[in-house]
Symmetry: C2
């Protein structure tokens, strides 16, 4: 039998400064929820932690409404159906659900997506087969349009998006060059993920090293950094190069800012014109309806065949989720950040 108690982590207060702290969260114990008609009772197995969560802690206008004080933090999970009042699910089904930071939740069956876990770890659907993976795949396929023999450069290359972009490029026959911070991450790109080259953006010779790593120029630059990296990439972009833009980390972190004394916008637009470049921002949901199934099929197959590696940074215990989120905001993670919510004891009984 499962425990008759549930756990949740709620937003206790809004951060007073840009830096959130543990005091902004509170762990609570509640009775096990009871599912109504058309609902299922879910046990959360793994919760995904993602950068957007910090934004929801503020009371700011955004594309999504903020988390309420005293309410569970929002979040996506893989969960197991314990009890079903819906014809669509039976106990034991594994689903993807917007559960928030909770150990158990009663939800309408209508909003749940049943997962195919044959040969695939369920947690993959929160990373390489989830939103980060789809961001990588859709930006590369729909905007990047990679062709064998071309050169791709991707920033934040050990992250959940960048690492998949580089591996998909390699599988498509491109030269893959990754940009990352520090020798450990650079070694991982080459030794584990099979990138052709890895450049440390902290190197004083960053621009020269990038140029040397791209002897035939750059055909696809997957932009998720911005700032100084862009300035080094721009002169290397080939005619008809494609630049999917899915993030600009430096504009959040304040690091890697480029030198603003020169008119880089004019240089950028001149390059756009004279080299027929395409720069295209996107958020993955633009492509969900048209492409998500193709993505799942293609990347799922690669995953089953062992052709794609993905790194998970797992924290055990829902009560440790607040610290794991703060660590991620500080960049102290290495791989997709997950929280194992289901206890090992419980796991061993299944």
């Amino acid at each position: 039998m499962e425990s008759q108690q549930a756990t949740q982590v709620v937003l206790a207060s809004r951060p007073a400064t840009a830096r959130a702290s543990l005091e902004n969260f509170r762990v609570e114990t509640t009775p096990l929820p009871v599912p109504g008609a058309g609902q299922v009772l879910l046990r959360v197995d793994t919760l995904s932690l993602d950068p957007y969560m910090r934004g929801r802690m503020n009371d700011a206008r955004s594309y999504a409404k903020p988390a309420g004080i005293g309410e569970p933090m929002p979040g996506e999970s893989v969960a197991t159906v314990l009890e079903s009042h819906s014809a669509e699910f039976v106990p034991g089904d594994v689903v993807l659900a917007q559960t928030g930071w909770r150990s158990h939740v009663a939800m309408d069956a209508a909003g749940l997506k049943k997962l195919d876990v044959d040969g695939i770890e369920a947690s993959a659907y929160l990373g390489v087969l989830g939103m980060p993976g789809f961001t990588a795949w859709s930006g590369l396929e729909v905007i990047g349009k990679p062709k064998a023999g071309e050169t791709l450069v991707v920033g934040a290359a050990t992250g959940p998006v960048g690492s998949l972009v580089g591996q998909l490029a390699k599988l498509a026959g491109l030269r893959a060059v990754g940009i990352a911070g520090g020798p450990k991450k650079c070694a991982y790109l080459i030794d584990v993920l099979g990138f052709d080259a890895a450049i440390d953006h902290r190197s004083p010779n960053f621009a020269q090293e990038l140029e040397a790593a791209c002897p035939n120029g750059i055909d696809v630059y997957f932009e998720n950094i911005g700032g100084a990296v862009w300035n080094a990439v721009l002169p290397l972009l080939n005619q008809y190069a494609r630049v999917p833009v899915c993030g600009l980390m430096v504009q959040q972190s304040g690091t890697l800012q480029h030198d603003t004394s020169a008119d880089y916008l004019a240089a950028t637009m001149r390059a756009v014109l004279t080299r027929s470049l395409q720069i295209r921002g996107y958020i993955n949901y633009e492509f969900t309806e048209q492409y998500f199934d193709s993505f799942l099929r293609e990347v799922g197959t690669f995953l089953r065949e062992g052709k794609i590696k993905h790194l998970e940074d797992v924290t055990v215990g829902l009560e440790n989720a607040p610290q794991a989120l703060l660590n991620m905001i500080d960049g102290r993670n290495f791989g997709k950040v997950l929280v194992q919510v289901r206890s090992n004891a419980s796991a061993s009984r299944s």
Copy 2:
């Protein structure tokens, strides 16, 4: 009978400074050329003057080789076949040809394109049905992807590219807003070309006036200016807006430079990301093979039906082409710049 003499304008010397002058050209009289096997003798009717010609006067590396000293200036014309040693052409055929600045030329038939002049002035093939027209059409259709009800903004809107972009947008059911320099050009946009609004980029309230003219934001910005205009356009671009980039006049002219004290590149990339913008540079020849026939069919039909207006700025006499080119470089033209090479006397005899 045609005259037994031909005229040509050659490059006498390279300009010593950025400013070319009449001394750099020389008008010469030569014997009428004699066509060989597979060739035709052409009489040039109308010569097109285009901005690229100034570049060819320099001995600089470029995508095209410079004009040689003592050789005719390069240029495209509509011409009439006087004599044919080719099975493909008969005297009287009207063709498009790279004749250079010459009154008569013997050319291989293989490089010539026969023009359909049924209901269309042959000179249209140098402007609205030629490269400027195709630049407008292909950038709008292939990159801009206009949809009825959207708002399009185009710069240099009285020019051969911008004027067609705006008219095509109107025909597709968009709101068309043109940017031009001075009240005369703005009035022309509204009164003659049927734009919905025209904004004078010389106005001290340019940005506010542009915003007022675009109450629903901007969905397609056809970029052929750059600089300060871009800074005013950027905040108005809607989600999924498309920005075909076919020119950056300010980077050549030195006018309308934007304020470089702020980091406009960061602002631009942020807008690209958060609003899923597409910025795409192009040169029309990228699309020629796939789209030129569609363009000729569609715009040719509009032209025959009187749905599109185009303005020609015609100088009479090949000997006056040097001054006409210098005037165009100084922006003193209004409409597509053409030189009527065939004399009126000759024209009346045909």
